[in-house]
Each structure stands twice: as C-alpha cells, then as structure tokens.
C-alpha cells in the first residue's frame, strides 16, 4: 500500500514576510489517482504547487516548513528542472509555448529526435541533425493520446487557445517518465466540448498510472473527473476525502464558508437603503479594457449611503469596474453619478465630481513610496480640490501649505492608528497594513461622496484587515459616504456590505443580499448557475 503513494505532503507551511499563507498542509496522492484541489483565490493553491515544483520564489523567501515525499523519497526541489527530471510535469494557467514554433517542435523542445551525421560524430551529440519525420510521429502520438485532432505542423501562433492548451499538456505527458502531472486551471480557456475531451484524456492518463493534481474553479468538472478532493481555505486543508457522494453546493460551502453565523457581524443599517428610490450611481452597459480584468457589459445601481460589494474570481473583471469608472483604463458606457452624466476616461473629472478610489495596486498606483506620509495623504486633495494651498499673486502661485498638510496627516494617523515614527516617514518603510491605511487616508482627505475601495485587505495580516474594514464601515456610518468595495474575499464582503454583486466573465451574474447563504455565492462564482436576483434586490 505504502509503495502505491506517489506524493505526500506532511505538515507543509509557508510564510511570506511574516504573512502566513500555508499552515500544516498534509495529504497524499496515490498512483493513477486524480486529486481535485479547490479553494478560493489566495487560499494557497498556487503557493503549494510552487513548493512542489521548486519555483525559485519559495527558496528566495526562506524556504518552507514540513516535508514533501515524492515517489517514496523526501524531496526538496531547488529549481523546476530538478522537479522535471524527477518526473513532475506542470501545465500552467499561462501558456509557456513558443509562438513561432510548430506544435511538434514545442512538444519536443529540448528532447528532439535526432539522427547522427558526420559533424556530430566528431563534435558530439549536440550537433546531430533533427529527424523531422520522427519528431512529427512522436508529437502526433502525444496529441492522439489526448484524443484531439491537431496537425503537429501548425504554428502555435495560428492556433485557437483550446488547441494551445492541448499542445501544452501533450508536451508534459510526452516526457516518458512523467509520474505526476499538475494541471492548473486547464479548462479555463476551453469550450465545453473541448473541456470534455480533455477530461476524458486526463482519465486515460490516470488509468496508465500517472498521478494527477487537477486545479479548477469549475466544480462540476472536479466532481465528474476526480477520485479525491482536497479543499484549501486560508492556507489550511479543511476537507480531504473521496469525491463520491459530494455535491457541488457542499464544495462551494467548504471553499468559502467559515463556521459562519455565530461570529458573523452583519451590517447594522438596513434603514432607508432597501429600495431604489435614492440612486447615487447608475452604471449602464459599462465596458472596460483593462488587461486581465476585462469588463464586457456591466450595469448596476448603487443606493445612496450603502456599502455595495463586488465579488468574483480573479480575472473575471471585477477590478476593471472601478478602474474604468475612474478613467485609469479605456472604457465606455454610461455612468450617471448624482443625477449628472459622468464623462468617462477623465480621471481628474471623476475625482473632482466627488468620486475617490483606493487602488488594488497599493505600491504601484496607491502610494508615492519615496515621499513622506503627509505628502501621500494630502496630494490628491491638494491637486484636485486645491486644499492645503495658499494662493499668491491672484492664484498664479499656489504654494503648498506644509503646516496644514502635516496637521491633516496627524489627524488621520491618529484616527486610523497608522503606526509610524512621524508624519515625515517615507511610505516605503511602512508595513503593508499601514500603507493601506495611508491609501485610505488619502481617499478620505478628498472627502468623497462615493468611494471605490479595491481589494482593501489584499496582502495584509488579519489584525490590520479588521482595522481597515472597521475604518471603512466607520467612515460610511459617520459621513453617510457611499462605498463600493471590490474584493476577492467573500467573507469580508459579507461582513460589511449591504448588497453584493458577483462578476463572472466580465458581466454581473447576480446581485445578492449579504445575508444570502454562502453556497449561493459559491455557485454564482463557479458560473454553474446564473441565479436571478432575490426578491428584495430588484435591479
């Protein structure tokens, strides 16, 4: 029995700069078994696979805890090459194919079939001639194993995405000694019929004795193809069991749910915002061309004074919505804000009319890392509303009022409990949570009527998370500021929002009350069931 186990994780843990992403992960995989690995974004799936595959980042950030056993031996891979050589194949979400090469050349890259010639006899094996006939035959065989029909002479750049995915998998299984194959969202880009073919191929592979780890957000695929299920949540294994008899709804609950209800702190205000009488923001047919987060056609209404959540999986377009409305990426559609039409693609105008935005890219967009905290906080308000400015010569010279800036910074440092040595400390030196608070202070200083907050708790620890969420809720209650919060973490959306819209493939698939059962959200995200809105939340 013991010899049958191909892969075993034993108490594996990992932290990045004190931020724990994996703890005590243990599970096993037998030969010829398909293991479905599911979990929300940020649950630790990618980190776990990176550890197994020996990706450099892991070593650079101080290695990991616990042990990994592969094929009966304890292994610590220092680089992907070592992992490859010992028989692990990985198919990434992003293609790693050479566009100008044919399918055959890609599949056999660095393992080309060759035949000797005169020069190679003298100078060695590296100069042998490529045997194109053999290559084609070998590649074709690999593709056929998958059960698809692709010409091995086609250039990668001329293929549809689905075919690229098959070529990528064919390349991994072509290595003769592959014993374990990791498939990271292989069906994400495939059509349904293609996905079916792929699933069949995976089954075939498993039957030939290869262990497979299958990562997917499409839970129905997990159920139909996998033998075993492992659910990760917040870096820990919550469920490890066989797939038999499990329902999709149950998996969704395991993925997103905590021991719920008891600790849940629902939003207290349900007063006058339960109908569409007072709409502050009306978005109609918005599209945004934000790379990786494309928004196709989104319409929704935000009521004055509410906290409106937008959730959904990464890459489905939820981040595109605020970035588009704020004019940071090209966008189109119609936005009515405060009963006035808001022109798109004009950041200054959006800010001026009372919108504010806390970007998800804190270090890239949100902060001036080499400037002091006070400048970071006051900058937007100064540039947009001419606050903290003393005017001379009839407004020709607009002098910064450093004292007012410092006072304002001090106020927010106190209010938001920003841990720093002084208002003059550089933003770069702050911890992630405190940087996020500076970003919030920057937005608060604008005194917005509507505030977009994008991924406010990404990459910060649990304590800071709570402070940030409390600050947002407090600001909402004190100033009656409408807040639109975009987050991948359903839990935090449910904790502070009134209503939550779920975005999938660039469109809103449903708007639910924050009190709706967790499983409903899970289903919406997995794109299985396009739920109609619940009665009270009419759009």
């Amino acid at each position: 029995m013991e010899g049958n186990i191909i892969l075993k994780f034993e108490n594996v843990g990992k932290q990045f700069d004190g931020n724990r992403v994996l703890k005590d992960v243990s599970f096993t995989l037998k030969k010829g078994e398909i293991l479905g690995l599911v979990g929300e974004n940020g649950a630790g799936k990618s980190t776990l696979m990176n550890i197994l595959f020996g990706i450099n980042v892991i070593q650079e950030t101080g290695g990991y805890e616990g042990n990994v056993y592969f094929d009966g031996k304890k292994v610590v891979f220092k680089s992907p090459f070592e992992a490859l050589n010992s028989g692990i194949g990985m198919v990434h979400q992003e293609f790693s194919l050479i566009p100008g090469f044919t399918a055959a050349e890609n599949i056999l890259l660095n393992t080309e079939k060759t035949k000797p010639n005169i020069i190679s006899k003298i100078f060695g094996k590296r100069l042998e001639t490529i045997d194109e006939k053999e290559m084609r035959k070998s590649a074709q065989k690999g593709i056929e194993t998958l059960g698809v029909d692709i010409d091995s002479d086609t250039l990668i750049s001329e293929m549809p995405v689905g075919h690229k995915q098959f070529v990528e998998i064919a390349r991994e299984i072509d290595r003769e000694k592959v014993k374990l194959l990791i498939l990271d969202e292989p069906t994400a880009v495939l059509t349904e019929s293609e996905a079916e073919i792929l699933l069949k191929a995976i089954r075939n592979l498993a039957n030939s004795g290869v262990g497979i780890i299958f990562i997917s957000h499409r839970l129905n695929e997990i159920i139909s193809v996998c033998d075993k299920l492992v659910v990760l949540r917040d870096g820990a294994v919550v469920v490890e069991r066989s797939v038999g008899g499990v329902e999709i709804k149950q998996i969704a609950e395991w993925m997103v749910g905590r021991s719920v209800e008891g600790e849940k702190n629902f939003h207290s205000k349900i007063q006058d915002i339960s109908n569409d009488k007072d709409i502050i923001l009306d978005v109609k047919n918005l599209w945004v061309d934000m790379p990786g987060e494309i928004v196709r056609d989104v319409s929704f209404k935000v009521r004055r004074g509410e906290i409106f959540g937008i959730g959904g999986l990464t890459g489905q377009g939820k981040l595109g919505i605020p970035n588009g409305i704020m004019g940071l990426f090209p966008s189109g559609g119609e936005i009515i804000f405060n009963d006035k039409n808001l022109p798109l693609n004009n950041t200054y105008n959006s800010l001026k009319s009372g919108l504010a935005f806390v970007s998800e890219d804190r270090r890239g967009v949100g902060l001036l890392l080499d400037e002091p905290i006070d400048m970071n906080i006051a900058f937007n308000a100064m540039q947009v509303h001419d606050k903290f400015v003393k005017k001379f010569l009839g407004g020709f010279i607009k002098w910064c009022d450093n004292r007012a800036i410092r006072e304002c910074a001090k106020k927010y440092i106190k209010e938001l409990d920003i841990k720093c040595t002084s208002a003059k400390q550089k933003a770069r030196q702050l911890s992630g949570g405190n940087q996020q608070k500076v970003c919030l202070a920057k937005a608060f200083a604008l005194e917005p009527t509507l505030l977009f907050v994008s991924e406010p708790t990404r990459g910060i620890d649990v304590g800071a998370k709570k402070l940030v969420l409390d600050a947002l809720r407090g600001y909402n209650e004190k100033n009656n500021t409408t807040i639109v919060m975009i987050s991948s973490e359903l839990e935090e959306l449910r904790a502070i929002c009134n209503r939550i819209a779920i975005v999938s493939e660039g469109e809103i698939v449903g708007i639910l009350s924050a009190k709706a059962p967790i499983a409903d959200f899970g289903l919406l995200m997995s794109g299985i069931d396009k739920l109609e809105e619940e009665g009270e939340d009419n759009e």
Partner: protein, 344 residues
C-alpha cells in the same frame, strides 16, 4: 561607531573618497609651490561658473525624465541669447539681461518640443536625450554659419559672415555678474560674490517651484507616474513643464559661464558640458530619479575642485599631464556608477 557607519552610508563612498582626495590635494599643494589662496580662488570661480548648469539637471530628474544628457538644447538657446545681445551692441547689465531674456524665450520654445519628444520615448529618455543633444549641436553648427549675424566682433574676420568659434565678450558684459560686490580677500583670491548670489537666487526659484502645487505634481510624476495619473494629473504636461524648466536653467547657466570666462564658445563647445554636468550632480549624491539642491552644491564643489586642483598640483608634482585622465575617469565613472544603481 554606529554613527560613523550611518554617516558613510548616507554620504556614500564615492563622495568620501573624492572628498579625501580633494582635501589631500589642498594639503600637498603648497609643497609644490602652489599658493592655497589661488587654488581656492579657482575652485570658487569654477563653482560659480558651473553650478547653474548642474542645477539645471534637477527639474528633469525630479519629473522622472532622467539625467538631462540633452543639455545642449538649453546651451544652444543660451548661445543664441548671448550672440543676439551682442548683435544689439548692448553692454553691461543691459546686455546680459537682454541675453537672459532672449535665451529664456528661445529655451522655452526648444524645451517644449524637446519635452514633446521625450514624452514619446518614455523609459528611454536618457539615450534619446543624448542623441538629441549631439544632433542638435551639429544642426546648429550649420546654422551658426548661415544665420545673418552682423556684429564684427562675432562674425569670422576673413569673410564677414558666419560666427567665430570663440567670441570675446570683453567689451560687452565681461564679469558683469562675477564682479558684482566682489570681495578681494588676498592677492590671488577674489571672491565672486555676484555669481554666488545669482546661484542662490536660481536655487531659491527651483526650491520654491517644488513647493508649489505644480511642483509637487511634477515630483509625484517622477516618483510614481501611475500614482499621479490616478490623481488626475496630466503626466505629459508635467514632464514638459520640467523639461522647459531645465532647458531655461541651462540657457541661463551658460550665459553666466560665458560672462565669467570672457568668451562665447559656439560650434562644438556645448558638447564638453554634457558629461561634466551630469557627473557633477551624480557625484553630489543624486540618483537617476531623485535630486536636491544640496546634491548640486556638493557635487559641483567636488567635481570642479578635482578639475581645478589636479592639473596644478599633480602636474607640478610628477610633471605628467594626468588631469584629463582623472577628469574622464571621474566623470564617466560616476555616470556608470549612478546608472548601475538605477533600480536601487
């Protein structure tokens, strides 16, 4: 010990080594018959001559356009201003202020187009700026010949058209600024108060600019262009403002240089200001995206100090001309050093 380490870290090894080298030159100078007051005089005069040119690097560095290898654009504007004022045969302060005025207007126009160009090549500003500087000089080489200058002291004596390579300003505005409130300390040491006041004035303008609303916007663009964009700032406009500002400062700087030197140098002369100005601000501790007036002052003193002291001291000590070698090593070495630290 900790304090010393901290100081070394803040001040940087290149500056420490060069400071020690410079101080040792001052110490051994008198032993080879070089009077200290004369050395001091040279260093101060050269500081006054070059400091504004170095200062002109600051706005562009702050806006993220990198080191201004295209400084010849501003220098040429200054040259045009200077020869135009000669054309009007104006002398004394009237002459030099006319030169400033014309130079500023022309530099603003040049700077606008130069800035437009740099906005199209974001990320490669420095290499493109170098090409712009060089090609602009050669373009102007043709123009100096063709443009219809008339003043006999500017045009070539043998044919009456085309500018000379060096034009004396002796009879026009020689030492107008240098001699303003000058203090004679010893026989060989005349402190050029005027140039220092002028430099202080220019520094004040630069300092004040970066404390206005527009100035902070420029700094933000240089520090993080995405941040600035998210704050509704027109990034391209801010960059153009900084380029115009830098170009104007360079134009003013070269006129200050000329009035002290006594000659307007046309044709290829602007080439020899590019690397020394860039190297000086780097030596002062500026990085490719951050510079202060303090950097300008320290850098100019150290760089010009080395330049003036090495020929006199080392040449008389070992009778070989190594000053040029040292100058090239310091200036080019400094630039390479700074560029390797770009990413931080």
């Amino acid at each position: 010990m900790n304090k010393i380490n901290q100081f070394i870290k803040n001040f940087g090894w290149p500056r420490i080594i060069i400071s020690i080298f410079l101080i040792s030159l001052f110490i051994i100078g008198p032993f080879f018959g070089i009077p200290t007051d004369m050395s001091l005089n040279d260093v101060f005069v050269r500081f006054g001559m070059n400091s504004i040119l170095v200062l002109s690097m600051v706005p562009m560095i702050q806006s993220g356009c990198g080191l201004n290898f295209g400084i010849p654009v501003g220098l040429v504007a200054g040259l045009i201003g200077a020869v135009m004022s000669l054309e009007f045969k104006l002398t004394g302060s009237a002459g030099i202020f006319t030169a400033f005025l014309i130079a500023i207007i022309i530099a603003a126009v040049f700077g606008y187009f130069y800035g437009k160009l740099l906005n199209r090549v974001k990320g490669d500003e420095m290499i493109i700026a170098t090409y712009v500087g060089f090609s602009f000089i050669f373009f102007m080489n043709m123009m100096w010949i063709v443009l219809p200058f008339k003043n006999p002291s500017s045009v070539q004596g043998f044919k009456g058209t085309g500018l000379r390579v060096t034009i004396s300003v002796q009879e026009y505005w020689y030492h107008v600024i240098s001699d303003f409130l000058k203090i004679k300390i010893t026989e060989h040491f005349i402190f050029p108060t005027g140039m220092f006041i002028f430099f202080a004035l220019m520094s004040l303008i630069v300092w004040a600019f970066f404390r206005t609303k527009t100035g902070t916007a420029v700094t933000a663009v240089g520090s993080n262009a995405e941040y600035a964009r998210a704050a509704g700032i027109d990034v391209d406009k801010m960059r153009i403002i900084s380029v115009i500002f830098s170009t104007i400062l360079a134009a003013i700087g070269i006129i200050v240089y000329q009035q002290s030197f006594g000659f307007i140098q046309t044709f290829n002369a602007p080439l020899s200001f590019v690397f020394p100005s860039v190297a000086a601000v780097l030596l002062g501790g500026a990085s490719v995206n951050k510079a202060s007036i303090g950097n300008v002052i320290i850098g100019t003193i150290l760089f010009q100090g080395i330049l003036t002291m090495t020929p006199s001291v080392i040449n008389s000590a070992i009778s070989i001309d190594v000053s040029e070698v040292i100058r090239i090593i310091v200036s080019n070495g400094m630039i390479v050093y700074a560029l390797t630290r770009k990413g931080r």
